[in-house]
């Protein structure tokens, strides 16, 4: 399972391996990874082989984040409030992969309902980083990132509301791709913040990401935000010429002088990133530094929390334990719902619901909810303006390699840097955005991100593909370094 999708397909077509053998290997590896890193909610022992067709995904195992609805398979959102929930339908994205002959072999752990960025808040416990189990995977697509990096299969589904595909991909040394908003139907994905939620995929190469999203995407009458992308062919067009393309990076995020008391890891991360900018130039691309209003960037984390909490409060009001979920105890319906929600939600989720609710109170909307929406527009307009002159924005992901688990609190703190959170702009504007590994610091992977204008997915994948080809980090499998 350490091979690419194209390689596996060739082996299947020429009958050098069978789908059944791949499933057996993937399940065996799933148990090893579960034991070591706790990446899964459910391992599907009964997974069955499929017929090998010309579809590149046929017969090949994959993983599904546990906030995608899967027919007759436990789908918990990594929350105690849905710990026994078994949907009677498949999410559209999942159904499309199954229709292509792909074989789901497990459901992966996430931060509860996707509302966290550490991989530590799922109801089945902490997911550990396969490069270093004392470090976090980031989240929320924690189990998917861990499993793909550990070589359980070539790809797993993720969802991304702030950076939930692209940050864990960075921490685990793999590729994380979130296409333009609505390119993949969200029908059957448990909603977190509807105006920011995206479906996507975690893989070990840009080509694999293109193959999987080509299959997952498409207009869906069950999701009114989906659109017709039949003219977009990611796999076929991932090799577009990148010579003369123009990239920009943000001075306020990438210049070490903007950070008080920078860590050694941050210094190395930014130096490594600058080296990759030179690589882009060697590939014939133009790279320029641009400046963005620092005050706008500084408000980014709070704007994200305000918008996402407000939307989540509303989206998750249906979790009562009455018509589904474990029934709470109490003398009347109100007490039963109170008991279900109090015991079922983790402290992080409760906190965010209350903040969201406060923000939505009539007397507070102007200062918090509307101002957050205004800054969202200013940030998106700033990025759109950049796309008038540049093909993509290229930036480092986070402030270095994976953080230590003992430091994870997932609390918004005053020193939360815009560098840690800038990927959220991709969600504010629905921009296509891909993270690829770009080096190592102290034996642990670090990454860069390429984000482009809406509907220009082929372009950003071509840039990522060209850069990936020029670096030695493609299709890497995690090796514990400590």
């Amino acid at each position: 399972m350490d091979k690419t999708i194209e390689e596996l397909h060739e082996l299947l077509k020429t009958k050098q391996i069978t789908s059944k053998e791949l499933i057996v290997e993937s399940l065996k590896k799933s148990h090893e990874v579960q034991e070591a890193y706790n990446a899964f909610v459910t391992i599907l022992e009964e997974a069955e082989e499929t017929t090998i067709t010309d579809n590149l995904l046929s017969g090949i195992p994959f993983g599904i984040k546990d906030n995608y609805s899967t027919k007759d398979i436990l789908s918990t959102g990594s929350s105690n409030t849905l710990k026994d929930y078994v949907p009677f339908f498949n999410a559209t994205a999942v159904q499309k992969l199954i229709d292509a002959g792909a074989v789901p072999v497990n459901k992966t752990v996430l931060d509860e309902f996707g509302m966290g960025g550490t991989g530590t808040t799922g109801h089945t416990g902490i997911v550990k980083n396969p490069w270093d189990p004392t470090r976090m995977t980031a989240g929320s697509s924690a189990g998917s990132a861990c499993a793909v990096a550990a070589g359980v299969y070539p790809y797993a589904l993720g969802s991304d509301t702030g950076d939930s595909i692209r940050k864990p991909a960075a921490y685990c040394g793999i590729v994380g791709y979130k296409p333009t908003y609505g390119m993949i139907s969200r029908y059957g994905l448990f909603p977190f913040a509807s105006s920011l939620d995206h479906c996507g995929v975690l893989t070990r190469s840009v080509t694999d990401a293109a193959i999987v999203v080509d299959t997952m995407k498409g207009i869906d009458e069950h999701d009114m935000t989906s659109w017709d992308s039949s003219h977009i062919h990611l796999y076929e067009n991932r090799n577009k010429e990148v010579k003369n393309m123009k990239l920009c990076y943000i001075k306020e995020l990438c210049d070490i002088e903007f950070y008080e008391n920078p860590t050694e890891e941050l210094k190395m991360h930014l130096e490594n990133f600058k080296e990759k900018l030179e690589l882009c130039k060697n590939l014939g691309m133009e790279v320029e530094e641009v400046s963005v209003n620092q005050k706008l960037l500084d408000t980014l984390p709070s704007v994200y929390v305000a918008i996402s909490c407000a939307e989540a409060t509303s989206n998750m009001s249906n979790l009562t334990g009455i018509i589904f979920g474990p029934r709470g105890e109490g003398k009347n319906v109100t007490e039963m719902m109170m008991d279900h929600r109090t015991k079922g939600f983790s402290p992080l989720i409760k906190r965010r619901f209350i903040i969201g609710s406060y923000i939505l109170q009539k007397e507070n909307q102007e200062r918090y909810f509307k101002n957050a929406g205004r800054v969202r527009r200013l940030l998106v307009d700033t990025w759109k303006k950049l796309y008038e002159s540049y093909d993509a924005v290229i930036l480092p992901v986070g402030s270095g390699p994976a953080k230590h688990l003992d430091g994870s609190k997932d609390i918004l703190t005053k020193d939360t840097a815009a560098l840690e959170e800038h990927l959220q702009i991709g969600n504010f504007g629905g921009f296509p955005s891909i993270t690829i590994p770009d080096g190592f610091i102290n034996g642990l992977p670090v990454a860069l991100n390429i984000t482009g204008n809406c509907y220009e997915d082929e372009k950003i994948l071509s840039i990522a593909h060209a850069l990936e080809q020029a670096m030695p980090y493609k299709n890497q499998i995690a090796k514990e370094v400590r």
């Binding site: 589904f324 409760k350 906190r351 209350i354 200062r367």
Partner: protein, 101 residues
């Protein structure tokens, strides 16, 4: 503007049907103080009130109403499958009208 207090946190939690420990209550206030400080600065951005708040990420998003057409609904058995307390084809709950509450 009234301050976000511990009592207000408990009041909202009750409305959301969520019970909070004193520690969880304090964590809400701690996290919110950062949001309050940061979004408070937005008030000073030039002409900020003239900016239309962004509520959706695609500029060209259109809401299209589909034709009404009759489709089969899901079997009741499927709908009830995840409910912990069922009587026949209905969800069972304590008496609501005329009960203790």
């Amino acid at each position: 503007m009234p301050k976000f207090t511990s009592e207000r946190v408990d009041d909202l939690a009750a409305k959301l049907l969520i019970g909070l420990s004193p520690e969880e209550n304090q964590m809400v206030l701690d996290e919110f103080s950062i949001i309050d400080e940061n979004l408070g600065k937005v008030e000073d951005f030039p002409n900020i009130k003239k900016v239309e708040p962004m509520t959706h990420c695609l500029d060209n998003f259109t809401c299209t109403l589909r034709e009404d057409k009759i489709e089969a609904s899901i079997p009741i058995e499927d709908a009830l499958k995840n409910c912990d307390s069922v009587e026949g084809r209905e969800i069972e709950v304590p008496k609501v009208v005329g009960g203790e509450n």
